[in-house]
Point group: C2
Chain length 436, copies 2
C-alpha cells in the first residue's frame, strides 16, 4: 500500500517532535498502522535541520498554504498555534478534502464549531487529541472509551505550569511570584505567563472536554476563569492542616439546570489520587455513571509527549480512510445533529463548598459575628480555626470551611463579613471540591 503522506505546518517544539517520532518509530508505527506514514512536505520559516531527523527527505516551504494545496498530501498537521493563519489554513485544508490533525487548543476552543461543521460537510476528520493534556489520550477516553456512560463531571489539572507553581509553593513554602520567576527561568512558564497562571489555557482545554463529555457546542466565552496569582503560602499551609491540597482545576459538571464550566484554585482532599499529581504533570479525573471515577495521568506538554498524541491522531485518521464518514467517531463525541442546548451556568449559580480566610481583631465576639452572618444566609460551617496571634499582634487569622452553598449566596456573605468593623481587609475565598 502507498505510504500515507503528511504535510506538517510548523517545525518548532511540537512540529519537530512529531517529525522525530514519525522517523524514529517508523517501523513500529507501520507494524501497527498497516502502512507507512511519511512526512512529505513541511512549512517553516526558521528551523534547525540538525535537530530534525529525516528532514532531508521532506520538501520544506516557507509558504504554509502551498503545503495545504499539495495534491499528494493526505493529512495536514497544523502545529503553528494561534488563531490566524491557523484557522485559515485548517479551513483551506478541509476545503481541499484533506484530513487535519492539530494540537491547537485555542483554535479548537474558539473556532471548533465552525471548523467541525466545515469538516462534516466535506466528509473529512479534524483530530485534536494533542490539544488537551498533551500526551494523555483523554479525548479518546472520553469519546470512545467511556462512550457507554452518562458523564457526570470532569476535574482536571490541565496546565502544567500552574501545577508546578502550586507544587513548589507547597513543598517549599515559597510564594507565588518567587516560584513564577523560577518557572520562567526553567522554561516551564512563558515570559508572559498570563495564559497559564490566569487559567486561560486551562479554560481552552476545559471548553473542549465539556463539549466532548456533554455534547454541547464549544463555548469558551462562557467559561469562568480565576487564576492562582492570589494564593498565598499561608493558604497552602492552612489547607494542608485541614487535610487538603490546593490545585488549579478545570471543572465541568452537568446539573439539571445546566453545565458548570469553571477554572479556579480548588481545595481537594489530600487522599484523592489527583491531589498527589505534582510538578508539571497533568491529570484528568472523569466521573461516569457506569464506570465511576477514572483518572488519566501523564505529561501535559513538551515536544515528544505532545507529538505522541499528534502521531496517534495521524494513525487514527489513516485507519478511517476507508470508513464511511457517517460511521466515524464524531468530532465532539456526539453526532452533530444531536448536540444539546443545555446552557452553561453563570458562576453565581454554581454550588461548591468554600475555604474562607480573613484577618480579625483578636477580641471576643468576632467569631460569633462572622458565624452569625453565615448562619443568617443558611451557610453551614464545617470547621473553623482561629489561629494564635503572632507576638505583639492584635490581629489573628480566622480560617473556616463551609458546606456547599450557591456562589451568589457566598458573595453576599463575604460582602457582609467584610463590612464588619472587626474584620480587616478582604476575605480570601477558595472553592472546595470533594470529588467523590
Amino acid at each position: 500500500m502507498e505510504p500515507v503522506k503528511v504535510g506538517l505546518l510548523g517545525l518548532g517544539t511540537v512540529g519537530g517532535g512529531t517529525l522525530n517520532v514519525l522517523v524514529r518509530n517508523a517501523a513500529e508505527i507501520a507494524r501497527r498502522a498497516g502502512r507507512e506514514i511519511v512526512v512529505s512536505h513541511a512549512a517553516a520559516r526558521d528551523y534547525d535541520p540538525a535537530r530534525l531527523e529525516g528532514i532531508d527527505r521532506v520538501e520544506v516551504s516557507e509558504d504554509a498554504f502551498s503545503v495545504v494545496d499539495q495534491p499528494e498530501v493526505d493529512i495536514i498537521v497544523e502545529l503553528i498555534g494561534g488563531y490566524s493563519p491557523a484557522r485559515e489554513l485548517v479551513l483551506k485544508a478541509i476545503e481541499n478534502g484533506k484530513h487535519v490533525v492539530t494540537a491547537n487548543k485555542a483554535l479548537i476552543a474558539l473556532h471548533g464549531n465552525e471548523i467541525f461543521a466545515a469538516a462534516q460537510k466535506k466528509g473529512v476528520t479534524v483530530a485534536f487529541e494533542a490539544a488537551v493534556a498533551g500526551g494523555i489520550p483523554i479525548i479518546k477516553a472520553l469519546r470512545e472509551g467511556l462512550a457507554a456512560n452518562h458523564i457526570e463531571w470532569i476535574a482536571g489539572i490541565i496546565n502544567g505550569t500552574g501545577n508546578f507553581i502550586l507544587t513548589e509553593m507547597r513543598n517549599k513554602g515559597r510564594d507565588f511570584a518567587d516560584v513564577l520567576a523560577e518557572a520562567q527561568a526553567l522554561g516551564y512558564a512563558e515570559a508572559d505567563p498570563t495564559f497559564d497562571v490566569e487559567g486561560i489555557d486551562a479554560a481552552h482545554k476545559l471548553t473542549i472536554l465539556a463539549s466532548l463529555a456533554f455534547g454541547i457546542p464549544l463555548q469558551f466565552d462562557n467559561c469562568f476563569t480565576e487564576g492562582i496569582g492570589k494564593i498565598e503560602p499561608q493558604d497552602v499551609a492552612y489547607a494542608e492542616q485541614l487535610g487538603y491540597r490546593i490545585k488549579h482545576l478545570g471543572i465541568t459538571r452537568k446539573t439539571d439546570e445546566g453545565i458548570e464550566l469553571r477554572v479556579h484554585p480548588t481545595l481537594i482532599p489530600e487522599r484523592r489520587l489527583i491531589a498527589n499529581v505534582d510538578g508539571v504533570m497533568n491529570a484528568v479525573l472523569v466521573k461516569g455513571d457506569a464506570v465511576g471515577p477514572t483518572l488519566y495521568y501523564g505529561a501535559g506538554a513538551g515536544s515528544l509527549p505532545t507529538a505522541s498524541a499528534v502521531v496517534a491522531d495521524i494513525i487514527d485518521v489513516t485507519r478511517t480512510l476507508t470508513t464511511d464518514p457517517g460511521n466515524r467517531v464524531p468530532h465532539l463525541a456526539f453526532q452533530p445533529s444531536e448536540l444539546s442546548d443545555l446552557p452553561v451556568l453563570p458562576i453565581g449559580d454554581v454550588e461548591t463548598a468554600y475555604y474562607l480566610r480573613m484577618t480579625a481583631e483578636d477580641r471576643p465576639g468576632v467569631v460569633a459575628a462572622v458565624a452569625g452572618i453565615l448562619g443568617d444566609l443558611g451557610i453551614s460551617i464545617e470547621a473553623m480555626q482561629q489561629k494564635e496571634p503572632a507576638e505583639g499582634e492584635t490581629e489573628v487569622p480566622l480560617v473556616m470551611l463551609t458546606h456547599r452553598v450557591r456562589e451568589r449566596q457566598m458573595d453576599d456573605a463575604i460582602a457582609r463579613i467584610e463590612a464588619l468593623p472587626s474584620i480587616r481587609g478582604h476575605v480570601t475565598r477558595i472553592r472546595v471540591e470533594h470529588l467523590s
Copy 2:
C-alpha cells in the same frame, strides 16, 4: 438506520450490568454512536427479571448456541466466562460472520491467538476491553492512544482483591489470612481465592497487555507468577520505614534480550502515584518512549464498570461496520503479519533490585558475613538495617535493600546466606522497582 442488534451470552453480574447500561443510557449512546443499539437476544439459565431493566424486550433462551446462530444478531457479547463453552461459542459466532465482544480474560490469554486468527480470516472483530482492568479503557489507550510510542514497560495493579488485601494490611497492620477472610465476607474475594491472591488473574491480564504493547503472540504459560500470601505485616512496616509500599504488580518490560512477563509483590517508592492506588481500585502505568509515563486508574471489576467497557466495545464495533477490515485496529495492536518472535525471558534472567529480610543471631560478624556473600557475588547494598532485638530475644531481624541484580545471581546469594549458621530459617525476598 436499523438498530444494531446484540446477542448477550450471560445475564449474571456483567451481563446484567451490560443490559442495564444499554437500556438506561440508550438515548445518550445513540446520540454518540449515530444509531440505536438494542439487545435482541440473550442466553441464560437462571436470572432475576426484576434486576434487569428492559428484559421484557429481549428474547431469552437457555441455549447460548441458538443466540450465536440467530441471523439477525450483529454482535455476540460473551459474558459467560471460563474456557468452555465460551471458546466454542466465540468461534461459532466468528464462523457465522458475527463480531464478538468479550470480558473473558482467561479465554483471551489462553486461546486469543486461535480466536484472533479465526476472526482475521472472517473479517470480523473480537473486542475485549473489559478483559483487562474493568472499566479503565487501557486496551484502547495502548492500541490507539499510545500507538506512536515504542512502549518500554508496563506496571499495573490489575487485581482489585489483591490490592484490597495489601491496602488493609498496610492501613491496619493486619495479617494476610485475617484480611482475606474479611474480603471473602465482603464479596471482594472468591471462596476459592487462588486466582486472585496467587496472581493468576493478574497474569491473564498482563499476558494481554504485553502482547498489545510489544506485538508478541499471547503466551500465558510463560508468565512468572508469585502470590501475596507470604507477605507479612512486618514486611509492610519495614517497607514503609524505607519509603516504599508493597503492591502486587503485573510487570512487563522489553529488553534487548526479550520480554519480561511477571506478576509478584513489589516494593515501589511511596511517592509514585501508583503507590497510592488503594483498596479495590486498579491502575496501569505505561512508559512510552515519546510520551513518558502515563497512568490509567479506575474500577477494575464490578457490574457497571465492566459493563462500561463492554458497551464501549459494542459502540466501537458498530462504528467499524463499514470499515474495510484491513484498516481496523488490529486485535493485538500490531498487524497479524508483523508480530515479533522476541522470547519471554525466564525469571532467572530478569534484573530487579531486592528487599531482603532475614532473622539473624544478635552477635557481631553476622552483618559482615551477609554483606560478604553479597559482595562476592557483585550485589551492591543500597541500605541495611539491623533492628533492635525484642526484650530477652537473641535474634534480630536484618533488613536490606540491594541495587539491581539478575534474579539468578540473587538465588545464589540467598542460598549461601541461608546456609550461614548465624542465619535462622528462610530469607524473605521481595523485588523492588523504582518505576522511573
